[in-house]
Amino acid sequence: MTKGITRRLLPSLQEDETIYMVVREHWAHLFLKIVIWMFFAAILILFNRYAIPAVPALGEGTFGQIVTLFTQVYTLFLALSLFLIWVFYYLNIQIITNIRIVDIDQVGLFSHMISELHIDKIEDVTSETHGLFGTIFNYGDVYVQTAGKVERFEFSNVPNPAGIEKMVLDLYEKTHPVKEKS
């Protein structure tokens, strides 16, 4: 990711702040959602390919036009759902810098949430990999426990959760060198 785009995503980036990682949902999890979407798209394709030729009444007269209208509205629904799957994928990001972790959450269309957590307030970091696809493609959840107001940060379905956990812990240890020695 170029510095310009990163700065636009995180306008409060300080001069001495370095971005270590920008994390989005793993592509395999996005692909699973698209597979479910494809199931609904296949219903429409199969309906047009097999049901209409098999039952000619579905394509004739006023009833045929109502069926056409229904398939067009269903296509609008398919286009909208694919668009929203991508929008939520694109707008849900986590940014890890040397100073803080920023969690940008788009929860539904009408709720946008940005949470920040300073690295020195971290108490515990946990990573989890679960499920068949999670194990095969190495994605899962990372939980960051803090003493702050937002008690638990959650990164859902992110790639390489163990790597992210290690990176966060390494950054924490950099900010607490005295503790590390004792």
Partner: protein, 70 residues
Amino acid sequence: MNLSSPANLLIAGIYYLLVGAMTLFSLFGVYILIRYGKSAITALIVALLYGFIYLEILAQSYSTLKNILT
């Protein structure tokens, strides 16, 4: 459009309800994508592409509705 018969009124009512809701969600989806996507080129391209496809299907469906209701 002939909305005098109850069947036509029902079809038009359901159509406007569903398509109205989907258009509202689409507009808001494009708005949040451009606003929170910080005008990144990917966000703009997807928003434009989606807008074009959506409007194209919408125009077709509206044309079908008019044929049904005449």
